[in-house]
């Protein structure tokens, strides 16, 4: 039985009284040590979810529980220890004058002793592959490197879950790959939950579970493979369909019996190879 970490119970949120609901009656659960992707178009409510999870915003209706504790003014300081966030813009969240100062920032705020800080800086920079940059100044880093330092800073305060809120959106393809690799390594090695918020379907492949948001509601919840098979529906709600899924669809239309559930090139090529050699 998996332990619940985050629970949304019929949550609704809007920014002001007469404005439309950004989230409407939204319920879902995220378990400990689980990796979940939340996808949706701009304005679907996915970033609002992230802000509700660590008390940057409060819900008007419904209840949000973190470790069984309701998120409110009294609990946010404890909750923020459990929930770490990495935001979109790498330049807006770098506070230190060097990489190690930046990683230390969150720990200093929590009064962690110096000896412990030094160990954690080593360990977390190692975890994100930035150990050779301890004394580097932020402006000498690429966007991807800055985001990896931001992840290290969050890891250093040992949260139970890290939320990446479109953390790759402003990066070039190489920066994106760096982050995706870092994230998948964390998933394997650390005892931590990961929530990836994105509109890029390529980033959901690594997740164990995907929550698709549309117009403020949970539209679907499934494995990446099941999601990828719903091409027409994804398009309809403004999401992009991965190339493999598009090609598999075109092949099917030509009566080539591929499954349509492939997640990557290798899987599709393997199916084609099997069809090809079973003549």
């Amino acid at each position: 039985m998996q332990e619940k970490l985050i629970e949304f119970r019929n949550v609704s949120f809007r920014y002001a009284d007469e404005q439309p609901w950004v989230l409407k009656n939204c319920s879902f659960t995220i378990n400990q040590n689980e990796s979940v992707a939340i996808i949706g178009h701009n304005g679907s409510g996915k970033s609002t979810i992230a802000k509700l999870m660590n008390g940057l915003l409060f819900a008007q209706e419904g209840e949000i529980l973190i470790n069984g504790k309701a998120v409110n003014e009294q609990t946010i300081w404890d909750i923020r220890k459990a929930v770490g966030m990495v935001f979109q813009n790498p330049d807006n969240q770098f506070v230190g004058t060097t990489v190690q100062d930046d990683v230390a920032f969150g720990m200093e705020n929590r009064g962690i002793p110096r000896e412990v800080m030094i160990k954690r800086i080593d360990r977390t920079l190692q975890a994100v592959g930035m150990q050779d940059y301890r004394l580097t100044e932020p402006h000498r880093l690429s966007g991807g490197q800055k985001q990896r330092v931001a992840i290290a800073g969050v890891l250093a305060v040992s949260p139970q879950v890290i939320i990446l809120d479109e953390a790759t959106a402003m990066l070039d393809p190489k920066g994106r790959q760096e982050i995706m690799k870092t994230v998948s390594e964390l998933q394997e090695k650390q005892n931590i939950s990961l929530i990836t918020i994105t509109h890029d379907l390529r980033e959901v492949v690594q997740a164990q579970r995907v929550i698709v948001m549309n117009q403020g509601g949970k539209w679907m919840e499934a494995t990446p493979r099941e999601i990828f098979a719903k091409k027409a529906d994804l398009r309809q709600i403004g999401l992009d369909v991965p190339f493999v899924a598009i090609l598999a669809d075109e092949l099917k239309q030509l009566d080539i019996p591929v499954s349509g559930k492939e997640l990557n090139h290798e899987e599709l090529l393997e199916e084609l190879w099997t069809l090809h050699s079973s003549m």
Partner: protein
């Protein structure tokens, strides 16, 4: 208007310990009416390159020609304002530059600065609003009450209202969701064709370069790394990987297919549908004869 760079170098803070060569002996020629994609990773010189196109910076060495305008070191550009009215630049996140009370006023700001009459401005606004996919009732609203996608369209309308002949786009789809990205790119492509523009687009997306550009310029460390037609450039997986770029996914798949099946599958700007047909002929034809 043609764009020509002849041995252009640009050095930030020359003759100081911080001197940094952002462009290094760069030469290329873009004929009028082209749609050019400029690609390169962060720090490759793309932004410095586009700042030369309307004289925001001038070459440290070499010469830039934009139509009849010339930019070179030490030259006092007398008609720089005219050049800037011909070259419209849509910077990254252009919506951050909105500032006026209403959408109409914001769009009017550029042309008014270039001395366009109020009547002509109003005529242009009417013409441009549908082109950027906005409706006229937004004109009296504050630009800050609009959605991100709408704000970006307002900022783009402001650039178009000056009636540029060259349109420069610096990562025009950054931060938009997939549908927003496609809408904006399709809009630029229609404008490019209908207004007979020369379009220069800085992008990270090899997919967009393949789909919209007729010419590709790849930058690395301030130098031209590769240049040519998309179908010749985009297939060079090794050379692109060496400068941290990927081939478009369709080409990557075709390369994987070639390797696995030991056949040749050349890239000719196929759509996925056309590729599926080719795959059918390579393997499926025999399937049906079973």
């Amino acid at each position: 208007m043609d764009i020509t760079f002849e041995h252009v170098s640009y050095i930030y803070q020359e003759n100081s310990p911080f001197a940094h060569k952002a462009l290094d002996d760069l030469s290329f020629h873009i004929p009028s009416g082209s749609f050019v994609a400029v690609i390169g990773h962060t720090g490759s010189g793309k932004s410095t390159l586009i700042q030369h196109l309307n004289g925001l910076v001038r070459p440290t060495h070499g010469k830039v020609s934009i139509g009849d305008f010339q930019l070179a070191k030490g030259m006092k550009p007398k008609n720089i304002k005219e050049l800037r009215s011909k070259v419209g630049i849509v910077f990254q996140y252009p919506e951050h530059q909105l500032f006026e009370e209403t959408v109409a006023k914001d769009i009017a700001f550029g042309p008014a600065n270039f001395g366009v009459s109020e009547r002509e401005i109003q005529r242009r606004i009417k013409e441009i609003i549908p082109m950027v996919g906005l409706s006229e009732e937004l004109l009296t609203r504050s630009p800050f009450d609009l959605s991100g996608g709408q704000m970006r369209r307002v900022a783009i309308a402001g650039v178009l209202a000056v009636k540029p002949e060259i349109l420069v786009l610096d990562e025009p789809t950054a931060g938009l969701d997939p549908r927003g990205q496609k809408d904006i790119m399709d809009m630029f492509y229609t404008l490019h064709q209908k207004q007979h523009l020369t379009t220069v687009m800085v992008t990270h997306s090899m997919e967009d370069a393949a789909k919209y550009a007729d010419h590709i310029l790849i930058m690395n460390k301030g130098k031209k790394y590769m240049e040519g037609a998309p179908k010749d450039i985009l297939i060079q997986e090794e050379a692109l990987n060496a400068v941290h770029l990927d081939v478009p996914e369709i080409i990557a798949f075709m390369h994987h297919f070639e390797k696995k099946f030991g056949v040749e599958l050349p890239f000719e700007n196929q759509t996925p549908k056309q590729l599926a047909k080719q795959i059918q002929q390579l393997i499926g034809g025999r399937l049906r004869n079973e």
